[in-house]
């Protein structure tokens, strides 16, 4: 004992700093990959088709013309199935080795599945890639505006089920105002106003009267559908020439950028609304994470009482931000009538608001991720359009399910337990 140096060191924890971790094995990803590999094998190899699949990469108006890519359909299918099998094997090995499959691996897998499917569907036909992507973006625009509004609204603590109603109200109002004034810009403003009005009803009931936010949202959707449907058939349709022929925004080609192969025709030959959307995504992202406005907004959505104790007015913060969200969603509504379709139609939003809501959750309440999610959903919708145009062997009814299937799998499978704003959907009641 006498050889031991005196050890007097109190208050030293016996365990090292930081919590202990143990890897929780999760086979979820591997199982999903296995199922898709088997399905790919069945489709691409067992029911594989012969011929050549052509991918057109340039439009006729491009300055730089890229050559078409021609793939032998059956060989492509076999090669892709082998690659998928390899990735599935890697994921099994990773779980065994107690590691997580990296996200890029899953992304590569998804792209491979997509290429395989496209090649299979386009045997002896050609797919216009810029057209496919351009259409995807077009379909995604209202979803992105809807998702941005949803992100703001949920971040401040109000669940916005009424995105659908706001889109529809925006579409109707913009068509009417733009037709009457012959000014698409005024139509745009009117759409924002309509979105704000729907939002304010939601905000008033949810924040002032503590009515359940989901119920108010659902009721508002039904109300707007009924109201616009009534006005459409009673007022708008009989006077279509006066009230439902809005001037559309012209496409504006951005010099230089619009000539980049593939990207240019997709992103930079768009209408004003789409350019506004690019700005909106950037501004909302910057605003939420880097400004005083965003800090206060998030604090109210996470812990309203804490925000209150530092002198932030919870009710008014919620009210005005939900209103701003409504204005943004309204812009998305205007895109239906002033950007893509060109006239209002009954229930023309067809559930876009709900897909936008899914994009909010899939994007984990982050404006950029929600935008990417909306783009994915837009892509799934447009894939169905393109394939039915080129005449794919898949029944069109099945293809119509595609966007919604992608939505369900994306939200349920990939997101799993994601954590939204803690106080979202909860009224803040002071005594």
């Amino acid at each position: 004992m006498s050889t031991v140096a005196p050890v007097v060191q109190p208050a030293q924890p016996t365990t090292p700093e930081g919590p202990d971790f143990e890897f929780v094995k999760s086979w979820k990803v591997t199982i999903a990959l296995s199922i898709f590999t088997v399905l790919s094998f069945l489709l691409l190899v067992v029911f594989g088709r012969d011929g050549t699949s052509t991918m057109r990469l340039s439009t006729s108006s491009d300055l730089i013309q890229l050559p078409d890519v021609e793939l032998p359909t059956r060989v492509t299918g076999i090669v892709i199935t082998v690659l998928l099998l390899l990735i599935t094997g890697v994921s099994v090995w990773l779980v065994r080795a107690k590691a997580k499959a990296p996200i890029w691996l899953i992304a590569v897998y998804a792209v491979l599945v997509l290429i395989g499917f496209l090649a299979w569907a386009a045997a002896d036909k050609s797919i216009p890639v810029p057209g496919l992507l351009f259409g995807s973006l077009s379909l995604a625009v209202p979803l992105i505006f809807g998702a941005l509004g949803g992100v703001i609204s949920e971040r401040v603590g109000v669940v916005n089920i009424a995105i659908e109603g706001q889109l529809l109200a925006g579409a109707f109002t913009s068509a009417m105002v733009a037709s009457l004034t012959r000014q698409p810009l005024l139509g745009l403003l009117a759409a924002m106003l309509a979105g704000v009005l729907v939002s304010m009803v939601l905000a008033a009931f949810a924040i002032k009267y503590f009515v359940d936010q989901v119920i108010v949202g659902v009721v508002l959707n039904v109300l707007v559908i009924g109201l616009t449907g009534f006005l459409y058939s009673q007022v708008m349709a009989p006077n279509a020439a006066l009230l439902n022929q809005p001037p559309r925004f012209e496409r504006i080609n951005i010099p230089l950028l619009s000539e980049i192969p593939i990207i240019g025709p997709v992103f930079f030959r768009q209408t004003l609304i789409v350019y506004i959307m690019y700005v909106a995504v950037a501004v909302v992202f910057y605003g939420i994470f880097h400004t005083k406005w965003g800090l206060r907004l998030r604090s109210v959505g996470e812990h309203p009482q804490a925000a209150d104790t530092v002198g932030i007015n919870v009710a008014s913060t919620r009210f005005w931000n939900v209103s701003i969200a409504g204005a943004i969603v309204g812009l998305g509504g205007a895109y239906f009538t002033l950007g893509s379709v060109g006239a209002f139609g009954k229930e023309m939003t067809a559930g876009a608001g709900f897909i936008a809501l899914a994009a909010v959750i899939f994007g984990r309440w982050d404006p950029i991720r929600a935008t990417l999610a909306a783009l994915l959903f837009g892509f799934a919708s447009n894939l169905q359009n393109v394939l039915s145009i080129i005449g794919s062997p898949v029944p069109s009814e099945f293809m119509l399910m595609l966007p919604y299937l992608v939505t369900i799998f994306a939200v349920a499978g990939l997101v799993g337990q994601s954590r939204g704003p803690a106080a979202s959907g909860k009224p803040y009641i002071k005594s």
């Binding site: 016996t14 202990d20 604090s299 812990h303």
Partner: protein, 506 residues
């Protein structure tokens, strides 16, 4: 700054939470506000902070009457508050939490985080805190979170600082450190209102003591008053601060836990390879600061945790992997930590709550029908036996006071034939009278030969009840020591230091 409250009256419906309260806090003094849970201390401070509007009375700062429309006004006037439930946003960093509400911005509206960080560091250095401005608040231990609250208040130049039950979540060592901080603040000229119901702390740090009971000021006391004097003032009658209990007569080992581990969904180890035994007729108290795995350990015993490895046996039969119903049928009684959340259904009546875990079969349910008459008789008996004060057995449980609610939980759990009794934080938030009652029942259960596990963060309670004490830190057992182990040793153990000599490996 001198703070004066004159005739503050605050009502919630028919309940008078504050009844014409007068309170004066001189500049640079630590003024303790002593009272039982539910005496109206927090309500008074929320009135002061502008969170509640008082029906009557006025607030004066340096003899100037103030009108606070909200916390913003109170803060601007120089009042800061360290809340009992921290008012911090868990997903924000320390700097973001400190700057929230009075943010500095640069061009383009960009938040000036650098300035906020510098501010946090300055204040940390002044008080000798070790706080990383960029750490996420949810990752910080509660003790550090409290320091963030203090930084928050100081960064707004608070001249009057209110500490609302600040020691409830701290280890004894952290409590001592907090006392040092409070003295530091006092020397810097800050007036401090220290709200607590713990007598020892009051005597250690307060310059003056005001005691309130049932919403009214009972009187002032000096810090030299004895515990018994203070307790008598606080409760309104003579109280017995010790629990009468005979030495335990432990029998055979009943509950045997071997190498038990619990993981959370992300793989974090919440309970780390824990082994212990509880014998018939003894109370094992599990001590530790909140959040060191005690909650998860009890939930694992009850079958409420999904990712559990290791062995749990009761009387030789395994309990692990069984459903909660099977665990209950094995004779385990359980008082959950949060009675309003997990122990009771607030909208249900007392009678319905009493049969809550026996809704499957006889005697209370026959052929899918609830036996109302039998239940009424049973409930009537239990309400008498456990002294539940209410308007009748059909009163919704949510309308009862905390003490009476806890008696309903106890009545339900102790009216079955138990082979093991697990009570988590059995007296949290209760008044002294109810605490005495709950402690007596727990000791009576032990004396009937049942093994008892009590989980508590209050050292007083642990010391009063335990035959043996097991201390947990970060999911591990630091040691199992006899019930009469000195506080100082327990305090060190709660901070993770293994006790010297024998007992460490027990």
């Amino acid at each position: 700054m001198k703070l004066e409250l004159r005739g503050i009256t605050k009502k919630f419906g028919a309940l008078v939470a504050n009844d014409h309260i007068n309170l004066t806090v001189e500049a640079g003094e630590i003024h303790a506000l002593l009272g039982e849970n539910g005496a109206g201390k927090s309500t008074l401070m929320n009135v002061l902070y502008g969170l509640y509007r008082a029906e009557e009375g006025e607030i004066l700062l340096d003899d100037v009457v103030q009108h606070f429309a909200g916390p913003g006004d109170a803060m601007a006037a120089g009042i800061g508050m360290v809340h009992q439930h921290f008012m911090l946003i868990p997903v924000f960093t320390v700097a973001e939490n400190v700057m929230l509400g009075h943010e500095d911005t640069k061009t383009g509206g960009r938040l000036d985080l650098a300035a906020a960080r510098k501010h946090v560091r300055e204040i940390s250095d002044r008080f000798g805190f070790d706080v990383d401005p960029d750490a996420l608040v949810e990752d910080l231990p509660v003790g550090v979170q409290q320091r963030v609250e203090i930084i928050k208040a100081v960064s707004r130049d608070a001249k009057v600082l209110v500490f609302d039950e600040p020691t409830a979540v701290l280890t004894p060592q952290e409590t001592d450190e907090l006392m040092v901080i409070m003295r530091q603040l006092k020397e810097a000229g800050t007036s401090i209102v220290f709200i607590t119901h713990k007598l020892r702390e009051v005597r250690a740090v307060a310059d003056r003591i005001t005691v309130i009971r049932l919403g009214a000021v009972v009187g002032e006391a000096s810090p030299t008053a004895t515990n018994v004097e203070l307790a008598t003032m606080m409760v309104g009658r003579a109280v017995d601060l010790t629990v009468d209990k005979a030495p335990a007569v432990p029998g055979d080992a009943a509950l045997v836990v071997k190498n038990l581990s619990v993981l959370d969904p992300h793989g974090q180890v919440l309970v780390n390879n824990v082994s212990f035994e509880v014998h018939n007729g003894e109370i094992l108290a599990i001590a530790g600061v909140q959040g060191n795995g005690q909650t998860e350990l009890t939930e694992a015993l009850m079958g409420l945790q999904p990712r559990v490895s290791g062995e749990i046996t009761l009387d030789g039969k395994s309990l692990r992997g069984h459903s909660v119903r099977q665990v209950l049928e094995a004779g385990v009684g359980f008082v959950p930590e949060d009675r309003t959340e997990d122990g009771l259904v607030g909208e249900f009546t007392i009678a319905e709550n009493l049969m809550l875990d026996r809704s499957n079969d006889e005697p209370f349910v026959k052929r899918w029908n609830v036996q109302r008459a039998l239940l009424a008789k049973f409930a009537g008996e239990k309400v008498m036996e456990f002294d539940v004060r209410s308007q009748g057995i059909d009163t919704p449980v949510g309308r009862l006071s905390g003490g009476n609610q806890q008696k309903v939980v106890l009545a339900r759990e102790l009216s079955r034939d138990l082979r093991l009794f697990v009570a988590a934080q059995p007296t949290r938030g209760l008044d002294v009278g109810s605490i005495e009652f709950v402690h007596e029942r727990i000791v009576a259960t032990r004396d009937a030969g049942t093994p008892v596990v009590v989980i508590s963060t209050e050292l007083d309670e642990v010391a009063a009840l335990a035959d043996r004490i097991m201390v947990m830190y970060r999911g591990r057992i630091v040691g199992i020591v006899p019930g009469d182990t000195p506080r100082a040793v327990l305090g060190l153990m709660m901070a993770g230091e293994a006790p010297a000599g024998e007992g460490a490996a027990a």
